[in-house]
């Protein structure tokens, strides 16, 4: 029987942030994740926006944690070495009639203590964003907003936690939670004093297994298009459409790596598995985004995808101790990605108040980033190749990812074990050919580095093997 002080359920950005915060305490902590990697659920398919924090109603958890999370991400980026770009955001008003509502949003931002907000008028707005439609009349500018790579945000926090002693159990869904004298017994094999529920879309299932007052999480799908980096320069800020009676609109944004992305839709789905895109949803994104920029180069779309938000019934995040020793971090929908580090901090405070741990004396805050040769000077790259020739061997030609980076991704405390795992860490296969050329070689490197047979290498989950057998094996 394994005994822990804290057990976290869920390896999305929320669970990763909680683990990252707890790693600095003298506690025995483990994280259970049902899939084989970090960021396999909502974290892998969202807008990647670091919101400024004017949107949520003053006094809500969302408002407080968004502003705090934003502040933390600015500080963390250089310590954990994930990709963050402080682009600023614009909420664009397309009709003078809607200006009062924009002013209201500005006021709400002030109440939420969002720094640097101001309304920009048409001329300045078009100077800031030359491709913008002529219909745009003014916008709310938030200089602290930005874009983050959601995968490496979550992975870097998890990796830092693992490097500092947090244990990770993958392919381990939480199936049973039983009350014990000292805390909880999970799956009959993990004993813990405190249980943290960061199970994303399934957080209500876990909560309802234990708590009197039931919660309900509804999956709401968002569909997106991602464009080639050639189109990345069409927007330099996160461009929101001002919400109106007609709807919330869609956003256009550069990504943390310089692609252009548009989306999302917002449709409730029947099941928590409906991560499929739909013809209707994609058509809707296309149409709505064209209001912001009317000449989007749809011939440069490199992929479309969908993700599910975990929408809580009450509207606000559900964070707190809702049964004795059972702490929820549930209903983390937008601005959940931005808020995650602050949620980690808040949950850690609850845990400190319960267990009164001392600090982890050996805690190391720094986490080494992956090498992206595009960010190196020629001289730096030369030196690196001399040290390790694998950094001169190109594997992914579209994103310029070397064998060295892929091997590194497969050799960390939380290693990439699949094509998607590699893709999310170092971007091999993320480019314009969408892994057409590099996937067989990447599979070889995964196979060699992790000692997995080539034909066992997966796309992202246990059942997603790329290879189905040897040639002619099925011929009688």
């Amino acid at each position: 029987m394994e005994k822990f002080d804290v057990l976290i359920a869920g390896g999305g950005v929320t669970g990763a942030a909680i683990a990252w915060q707890l790693a600095r305490l003298d506690l025995k902590v483990a994280l259970l994740e049902k899939e084989e990697d970090i960021s396999e659920g909502t974290t892998k398919a969202n807008s990647g926006i670091v919101h400024a924090g004017y949107d949520a109603m003053p006094g809500t958890l969302k408002a407080r944690l968004n502003v705090r999370g934003n502040e933390m991400i600015h500080e963390m980026a250089d310590v954990l070495n994930f990709d963050f770009n402080n682009t600023g955001s614009l909420v664009i008003c397309f009709d003078e009639e809607h200006r009062p509502a924009l002013e209201e949003l500005y006021q709400r931002g002030l109440s939420n203590h969002v720094p640097g907000l101001r309304i920009v008028e048409k001329e300045e707005l078009h100077e800031m964003e030359p491709e913008l439609s002529d219909q745009a009349v003014c916008a709310l500018y938030a200089p602290t907003a930005g874009v983050v790579d959601p995968f490496t945000l979550a992975i870097s926090m998890a990796e830092n936690a693992a490097d500092n002693g947090v244990e990770f159990f993958f392919n381990t869904p939480v199936e049973t939670i039983e009350k014990t004298e000292t805390g909880w017994l999970v799956n009959g094999e993990f004993e813990t004093k405190l249980f943290v529920n960061a199970a994303g879309l399934e957080a209500d299932d876990l909560h309802n297994m234990v708590c009197e007052e039931k919660i309900h999480i509804r999956p709401r799908r968002g569909e997106y298009f991602l464009f080639d980096k050639d189109a990345g320069k069409m927007a330099s800020h996160v461009l929101f459409q001002q919400p109106t009676a007609a709807g919330k609109g869609v956003l256009i944004t550069p990504t943390a790596h310089g692609n252009l992305m548009i989306g999302p839709t917002a449709d409730f789905t029947e099941t928590k598995e409906d991560i499929n895109t739909t013809a209707e949803g994609l058509a809707q994104v296309r149409e709505k985004a064209s209001m912001t920029i009317d000449h989007l180069p749809f011939n440069q779309v490199i992929t479309s995808f969908a993700g599910l938000r975990a929408v809580p019934e009450g509207g606000d995040f559900i964070i707190g101790e809702n049964a004795d020793g059972f702490i929820d971090a549930a209903g983390i929908e937008s601005p959940g990605l931005t808020s995650a580090p602050a949620i980690g901090e808040m949950v850690a405070e609850i845990i400190i108040s319960k267990l009164h741990p001392g600090p982890n004396e050996n805690y190391k805050p720094e986490r080494r980033g992956f090498v992206n040769v595009n960010d190196l000077s020629r001289e730096e790259w030369k030196v690196l190749i001399e040290q390790d020739p694998a950094y001169g061997q190109m594997v992914c030609r579209c994103e310029k990812v070397t064998e060295g980076s892929i091997k590194d991704a497969c050799s960390r405390s939380i290693p990439a074990r699949s094509l998607d795992g590699v893709k999310r860490r170092v971007r091999a296969g993320m480019g314009r050919c969408q892994s057409g050329f590099c996937s067989p070689r990447t599979m070889e490197i995964i196979s060699e580095t992790l000692n997995i047979p080539f034909d066992e290498v997966t796309k992202s989950t246990k059942g997603s093997k790329i290879i189905t057998g040897r040639n002619k094996e099925d011929i009688q």
Binding site: F225, F305, R397, F437, P440, F454, G469
Partner: protein, 419 residues
């Protein structure tokens, strides 16, 4: 490594190899081929089917055999090449920067460059096919690599979208290796591949080809579980009620090839919106003097024989450019297109620089039966040739004669005429 070369050829596939051999034979000594893969030959190495070389060698070779004929020539001619060497950057001053484990980062200044980078396949994402994103969706070329090079099956029950040649070839290959190919769906009302491939790869194996059909849904969480195809109307929109769901574990995509011109763009080479390749003149020279292009990076070919032929021309002119200099173009005449002709390569000719005969290759935008190809020079018809059938999947060519064209010529027109 020395930092200057007379000629750098980017790409060691069929185009790069033929260009190198021709340049050497034309008297140029100081040549370097840069190849990103671990061997020369390019995509031919995974094309283990036969049918290559009928025009060039008058015999039927497999892809690797065809490649080896040119690799042997390159070796006999002692033309240097670097493998595992990825070109990162080319500028208009003809500085070529590449990276490899062995050489590190190198920048070479070249007197001339031949662009021979080939093309890539259009991925699923570019097609915006709705559905989930499980394992089991591959471009036909990726599946070909796994099957033919690694000996591993990428699937058992297969649906193919797109009737490009690689898709057709893979329909047969997968069948021969023990998979069941249920259907090939093609969005257009005609195939994108060669007629001979439809006969030899689909008909011979009773694999149905459904024209005017597309994929409307993909199901499966971890691995593909089914693919739905539906008929499309004349606007290529799916017709409700025509959907058929095929239980399967694999979807192969063969939906077009895109010339890989990211490097060309960095060197300020003008790219055609129709071919997605460089705009070249009769010398296969781009708008940047001394940078030439050939093979699939210039425009996507059906037959490697024509790639070799075109590349030899590029290599030869590049050699002449370095050794003698070719006169700056004074009077380039655009080749206009009419009827169903979508583009021509070359896009323009300079009568002072033309050979006696210039091959002009082109594709049509739709199927035309029993029509004609016409060439007009200043309104005078020079060519009027009947073609049994012209189709988008089959490249056409005509020969433009120097004697028809003078520095005073204003217009050259290549057109199709309905029967």
């Amino acid at each position: 490594m020395e930092n200057h070369k007379q000629l750098v050829i980017i790409g060691g596939g069929p185009a790069g190899l033929a260009a190198a051999a021709a340049a050497k034979k034309a008297g140029l000594d100081d040549i370097l081929i840069l190849e990103r893969d671990s061997q020369l030959g390019g995509i031919l190495n995974q094309c283990i089917h036969n049918g290559f070389g009928l025009h060039t060698f008058k015999e039927e070779l497999t892809g690797p055999e065809y490649a080896s004929r040119f690799i042997d020539q390159v070796n006999e001619l002692e033309i240097p090449y670097r493998l595992n060497s990825m070109v990162l950057d080319v500028d208009k001053d003809k500085n070529v920067t590449y990276v490899s484990s062995e050489d590190g980062l190198q920048t070479i200044n070249a007197d001339a460059i031949v662009l021979a980078m080939g093309c890539r396949e259009r991925p699923r994402g570019a097609l915006s096919i709705p559905g989930t994103r499980p394992a089991g969706i591959y471009s036909a070329g990726t599946a070909q690599k796994l099957t033919n090079i690694d000996g591993e099956m990428p699937g058992r029950e297969v649906v193919i979208l797109g009737s490009g040649d690689i898709g057709l070839i893979m329909a047969r290959r997968m069948t021969l290796e023990g998979a069941k190919v249920h259907v090939v769906a093609e969005l257009m009302p005609y195939s994108g591949g060669l007629k001979r491939n439809i006969v030899q790869c689909l008909d011979d194996y009773d694999i149905p080809l459904k024209l005017s059909h597309t994929v409307t849904n993909i199901k499966g969480r971890e691995r593909v579980e089914s693919v739905t195809i539906a008929e499309v109307d004349e606007n290529r929109k799916p017709i409700p009620g025509t959907e058929i769901e095929y239980p399967c574990d694999t979807l192969l995509l063969s939906c077009g090839l895109i010339p890989e011109n990211e490097l060309s763009k960095e060197a300020d080479v003008e790219i055609s919106r129709i071919t997605n390749g460089p705009v070249v003149n009769e010398s296969l020279e781009t708008n940047v003097p001394g940078i030439f292009a050939c093979g699939n990076v210039l425009h996507v070919h059906d037959l490697v024989d024509f790639v070799s032929q075109e590349a030899a021309k590029a290599g030869e002119v590049a050699a002449r450019y370095v050794l003698e200099g070719i006169p700056e173009s004074e009077h380039e005449i655009d080749i206009k297109t009419g009827g169903l002709v979508r583009y021509t390569v070359p896009f323009k000719v300079d009568p002072n620089r033309m050979d006696e005969n210039t091959i002009v290759r082109f594709r049509v935008g739709n199927v035309l039966k029993g029509g004609f190809v016409n060439v007009y020079v200043d309104g005078e018809r020079k060519i009027h040739k009947k073609r049994m059938i012209m189709a988008p999947g089959e490249m056409e060519d005509i020969v433009l004669r120097k004697e028809w064209i003078t520095p005073e010529t204003k217009e050259i027109l290549v057109e199709t005429e309905a029967a």
